[in-house]
């Protein structure tokens, strides 16, 4: 089987779950004997940048220029939302150009099907489908609703997502939560939408905990982009509440995003700046240490299609509190869940975890066991099933000349 895959992120150029997913999915599929041509934008930021594909030889990477001297990864680390400061039209243009160039650069190479990831790749994918007759699988990693936190979703993006959902032969959603969203907001045909969970690379996170010093007692971690979708202000409001009861607690905010300044100012206004430490963007290789140094991880997202970081935290032995409007939460017993807006409840849960070693111990142990259910092998296997299912239905196509 050969799959032509159109993506947007691939390590080391990643901003979030999409890149990790792309790596793990392609690696797993390749192990199952699937050939993959992977299309992605070319990173234009400098001469010494590592090349994708140089680390990953299981997949044929085709880099497609997104735009001359314009990198879709500039600024907020590849934000997929047009909320990115200074993006606006530049970002939209970069997306348009990428899609045009993918279509031009596309070479079917005996591909049996197309697989595209998120709305950014949909226009190009649909055009390629039209030209080649290849069936299309569209993975929805997030929707505009998620990314806009329900406020002001951009209609033109929603239109693209709706088209993708309706015209693709199959839609993969990263959770039941996302599947439901896609069915509710885009009237997707439930029979064509499959929920397949992301996995986690356990070996990477399962390390012995770092020895603690006095200063690191009671550390609460926020590790997400600083954008409205991820609920950073809810985190900070809860932090303030927690600090009233536990002034020695410490809050770590990692990540970059358009709300960084707002968050910083918030901590200053509320007089908690000395207890909230903004680390900026943490490179991949240092993430494990960040988790290990934490006593509780909080994902207070307004709407989170999956939430791989939750699995990473659990695999690192960190008790975790997750928003109820998240995909990953639906499958987990050994986390605490909370309504993102209920900052009092979030504060009380944080205090509960910080105050009680028996609770931390139990969540650590049970969470560590539970997270083993999430394997990329399963994700790949289930994705392969979708491919096989689809190919059984679809008559063999003559790939028309471009």
């Amino acid at each position: 089987m050969k799959v032509a895959m159109i993506g947007w992120e691939f390590p080391p150029f990643i901003a979030g779950g999409l890149g990790v997913h792309s790596l793990e999915l392609t690696a797993g599929l390749a192990r199952s004997g699937v050939d993959i041509d992977f299309y992605m934008p070319r990173m234009e930021t400098g001469e010494d940048q590592p090349q994708p594909g140089s680390h990953h030889d299981h997949v044929e990477i085709n880099e497609v220029a997104a735009a001359p001297a314009e990198s879709p990864y500039a600024g907020t680390g590849g934000s997929q939302t047009s909320e990115g400061a200074g993006y606006g039209d530049d970002f939209n243009q970069a997306v348009d150009r990428y899609n045009d160039r993918v279509v031009d650069a596309f070479d079917a190479h005996d591909a049996d099907l197309l697989h595209c990831h998120d709305w950014i790749t949909v226009p190009g994918a649909l055009e390629i489908r039209r030209r080649t007759g290849l069936p299309l699988v569209f993975t929805v990693h997030s929707t505009e609703y998620d990314r806009s936190a329900g406020l002001d979703p951009q209609h033109w993006i929603e239109t693209i997502e709706r088209r993708g959902v309706h015209e693709a032969e199959r839609v993969i959603a990263v959770s039941e939560y996302t599947k439901q969203l896609v069915e509710d907001r885009y009237d997707a045909d439930p029979d064509t939408v499959v929920a397949i969970h992301n996995g986690v690379d356990l070996a990477r996170w399962d390390q012995p905990p770092e020895p603690r010093t006095e200063q690191t007692a009671g550390t609460v971690l926020f590790l997400s982009r600083l954008v409205r979708q991820k609920g950073p202000l809810f985190f900070l409001e809860a932090a303030e509440r927690v600090l009233e009861q536990a002034p020695q607690a410490r809050f770590v905010v990692t990540g970059k995003g358009s709300m960084l300044r707002e968050c910083l100012e918030h901590t200053i206004d509320r007089g908690i700046a000395d207890r909230v430490h903004f680390t900026g963007f943490v490179p991949e290789e240092e993430l494990a240490e960040v988790y290990q140094a934490s006593d509780v991880y909080v994902l207070p997202s307004v709407s989170e299609p999956f939430g791989i970081t939750v699995l990473e935290a659990m695999a690192s032995g960190v008790p975790t509190i997750v928003s109820k409007t998240s995909g990953v939460g639906e499958a987990l017993d050994h986390v605490l869940t909370v309504d993102f807006w209920d900052t009092d409840e979030l504060a009380d849960l944080i205090l509960g975890v910080l105050d009680h070693e028996p609770l931390r111990s139990e969540m650590r142990t049970r969470g560590g066991e539970e997270v083993r259910q999430f394997s990329w092998d399963d994700t790949c296997r289930e994705t392969l099933s979708v491919y096989e299912d689809l190919l059984q239905e679809t008559p063999t196509v003559e790939v028309t000349a471009r």
């Binding site: 509440r241 006593d295 605490l336 009380d348 509960g352 009680h356 028996p358 139990e362």
Partner: protein, 415 residues
């Protein structure tokens, strides 16, 4: 002649409302009154009232050959008295038939029997005995501990309190190859108790498997069940279960009420079977052997031990902290605080914190008002922490030297 001894547990905990640690209530009023009333109403309509009526009718129809035993926890009595006096009236009516026996237990349906020290167990048992006497006119002579928890020490304590008999689970650990269908006695010298052991196979056929899809014996008719009873060797078949089996755990559409209604008639038809109350068994039968229970048994979960309430560290911490507060609560001498501390001892609170795996976990979740055992723990510890704080403050106001509980205050932050 084989006796059939039916015993039903009646209990409702005082469930907690959500207590956040930074919003302490002004009074130690930790209870979700609305939810507790709603659940009591539901249990009353679906179980207590219709089942009591059925039993009353059966007693009349059989001219008193049908007999049952109940235990009503003090926590249930309080709530019924306040919110559903009609349910209590219905139990009193049953008491008046003379065919219904009421058993003793700890007033607060607590795990105080497992405490190493202190007088709490005795205090709760006495209080319960008095309450039953006030309510139904006679003092209980037969005892059952919370969730049938039993070990050698509990047996000795209960004997010391003057009871004639105690009920517990006919667990394989206690019996080995022996049958639960006889009376036994505790192994310790001078302990005069008779021990009645639940026949778990036959009891669970009714209480659990009755409507389990795919069970090979479905439908379990009274006719078939009585035939099994008749074929069962032994002197007594002890069928012990939660009263809510009738109408709540097993819904009416399963036929559970029809089963109950038909049972006495089928038993009557068989000359080798008759109903007996626990006291009658104690009078009529002699123990055939001794049982040893260095480790506690119970009727809960697959293990039938105390792991349902104490298997994980969170539960163990709750259990330990409750005990640690005993000297403080007594020193303060405040009735409301004492009452709150005792209501927090109800075993259900620890049950909700269980994190066992599949099978038992589903049953725990069915009963739990919480989304997760972790929230159950945080909420419970917030309530207990608030109680401790209030007790300490009262003590300071009283000008007493602070009595330090036997362990330090809340665990320090990690690090």
């Amino acid at each position: 002649m084989t006796s059939i001894c039916l015993y039903f547990q009646v209990h409702q905990p005082r469930r907690l409302r959500r207590i956040q640690s930074f919003k302490p209530p002004t009074e130690p009023d930790y209870w979700d009154a609305e939810e507790n009333e709603r659940i009591l109403d539901r249990a009353a309509e679906k179980c207590y009232l219709p089942a009591n009526e059925t039993i009353r009718d059966l007693i009349h129809e059989t001219d008193g050959r049908f007999k049952v035993a109940f235990s009503l926890s003090g926590v249930f009595l309080d709530q019924a008295r306040r919110h559903r006096p009609d349910v209590l009236a219905s139990f009193r009516e049953l008491a008046r038939t003379g065919n219904v026996e009421f058993l003793a237990e700890t007033y607060y349906h607590s795990l105080a029997g497992l405490w190493d020290e202190g007088t709490e167990f005795e205090a709760q048992v006495r209080r319960h005995g008095e309450a039953i006497e006030r309510e139904f006119g006679h003092e209980p002579t037969v005892f059952r501990n919370t969730e049938l928890i039993y070990d050698d020490r509990i047996a000795d304590q209960v004997d010391g309190l003057g009871y004639e008999a105690i009920l517990t689970e006919g667990s394989d650990r206690l019996l080995g190859w022996r049958s639960p269908n006889h009376l036994y006695e505790p192994q310790s010298e001078g302990n005069d108790l008779s021990v009645l052991l639940k026949n778990y196979q036959l009891s669970d056929d009714v209480a659990f498997r009755f409507s389990t899809p795919g069970w090979s014996e479905q439908p379990l008719t009274a006719d078939k069940f009585t035939a099994w009873l008749d074929e069962t060797p032994g002197e007594t078949i002890n069928l012990f279960m939660d009263y809510e089996t009738f109408g709540e755990h097993q819904w009416p559409q399963t036929g559970i009420f029809d089963f109950l209604e038909a049972l006495p008639r089928h038993v009557d038809e068989r000359s080798g079977l008759s109903f007996a109350s626990p006291s009658e068994l104690v009078d009529e039968l002699d123990p055939v052997g001794t049982i040893e229970a260095p480790q506690a048994v119970s009727w809960a979960d697959q293990e039938r031990d105390v792991s349902a309430w104490l298997h994980n560290k969170m539960q163990q911490e709750c259990f330990a902290e409750l005990q640690r507060l005993e000297p403080l609560v007594h020193a303060v001498g405040d009735r409301d605080l004492m009452q709150a501390w005792r209501l927090l001892q109800t075993s259900d609170h620890l049950y909700y914190c269980s994190t066992k795996g599949y099978g038992d976990q589903e049953i725990h979740e069915y009963f739990s008002p919480y989304d997760s055992p972790y929230v159950a723990y945080i909420n419970f510890m917030n309530a207990l922490g608030d109680l401790k704080e209030k007790a300490r403050r009262r003590l300071r106001e009283q000008g007493e030297t602070e009595i330090e509980a036997t362990a330090p205050a809340q665990a320090p932050l990690p690090g």
